[in-house]
Amino acid sequence: MMRASHTQPGFVAALLHRLSGLALAIFLPIHFLALATALRGADALDTVLAMTNNPVLKLAEFALVVALASHMTLGLRVLAVEFLPIRERTAATVSLSVVVSLAVGLVFLLNVQ
């Protein structure tokens, strides 16, 4: 039987926030390395960018955009509870954060070739 704290929206929020942060921390060095290939000229960077032109990596990019957006929105929730005199409605806030993040990811996916 799952303990009740793990079904609470606040826990789900914290878990998403933590896992997205972890994913971003792992991704960043790769991101910086990829961009730095421009040192060898625009063609070198183009080669790297071309590597992302397949469904699996496009999906990974989508996931990273969603991770970035959700880490930010869920982080803003934490800042709001800590520094603003509001009594937030956790479930609604978390749902809104997830929806907004997925929307941002979707806009990215639909716009990118």
Binding site: R3, A4, S5, H6, Q8, A13, A14, V81, E82
Partner: protein, 237 residues
């Protein structure tokens, strides 16, 4: 018939099954008491007032920490008639459903959760308007009876056993807001370390499950702000 699984043993043990008749207006405390008195006298559990004032009867009921005297079977058991009783999480188990509270209260002490007076009996009474913002902040958390439900529900406590926890930090916040209290900077020091208020990640299970409707999350947020303000301005309180 209720199918009741009850934890037996200490931190290691097993679930033992009992069958208890399901009755109208039954509370979980009624069920546990019936098992202990009619079926297995070796079962260990706690209660005292049985009317929701003392907090002694707290345990985990179908995965959620509750007061058994104030929890009706009809509210937590569905048509499957299954009930699972466990001791509170994050406490060492003394026996069966009774847990060791010492470390919980040691953390109150470590969090400077006791009032320190600067006055003597020869001084006049302190005047504290009940409507003042600081007294209202203190009053919002002062009703804590140390039942341990929030501590059981806290994921950070289960991940980091040194974390002071929601009850101790809530109590400290009430004292930070007590204008009569003289502890000042020492109290903020006590909650500003790695095991202190900054380790709260706003899961909010403490606030959700507190049987008295207190908000430890917000008390801890207050401590975060107080510690931050002091670090930035050097002022306490």
């Amino acid at each position: 018939m209720l199918q009741v699984e009850v934890w037996r043993g200490t931190d290691r043990g097993r679930f033992q099954s009992f069958a208890v008749p399901r009755r109208e207006h039954q509370t979980i405390l009624d069920v546990v008491t019936e098992i202990q008195r009619e079926q297995d006298a070796t079962l260990a559990y706690r209660f005292a007032c049985r009317v929701g004032m003392c907090g002694s009867c707290a345990m985990v009921v179908n995965g959620r920490p509750r007061w058994t005297c104030r929890t009706r079977v009809s509210d937590v058991v569905g048509d499957d008639n299954r009930l699972r009783l466990e001791p509170l999480h994050n406490f060492a188990v003394v026996k069966d459903l009774a847990v060791e509270m010492t470390r919980f209260f040691d953390k109150w002490r470590d969090a400077e959760g006791s009032f320190q007076s600067a006055r003597t009996r020869d001084d006049d009474f302190a005047i504290v308007p009940p409507s003042s913002p600081r007294r209202q902040a203190a009053d919002a958390g002062i009703e804590c009876i140390g039942c341990g439900v929030c501590y059981s529900a806290c994921d950070v406590v289960s991940w980091d056993a040194s974390y002071l926890g929601p009850a101790a930090l809530n109590r400290t916040w009430t004292l930070v807001n007590d204008v009569r209290d003289a502890a000042g900077a020492a109290r903020l020091d006590a909650v500003a370390g790695d095991n202190g208020c900054h380790s709260c990640h706003v899961h909010m299970s403490c606030t959700t499950f507190c049987p008295k409707g207190l908000g430890p999350t917000y008390a801890i947020a207050g401590l975060k702000r107080a510690v931050t303000a002091r670090a930035l301005t050097g002022r306490t309180g």
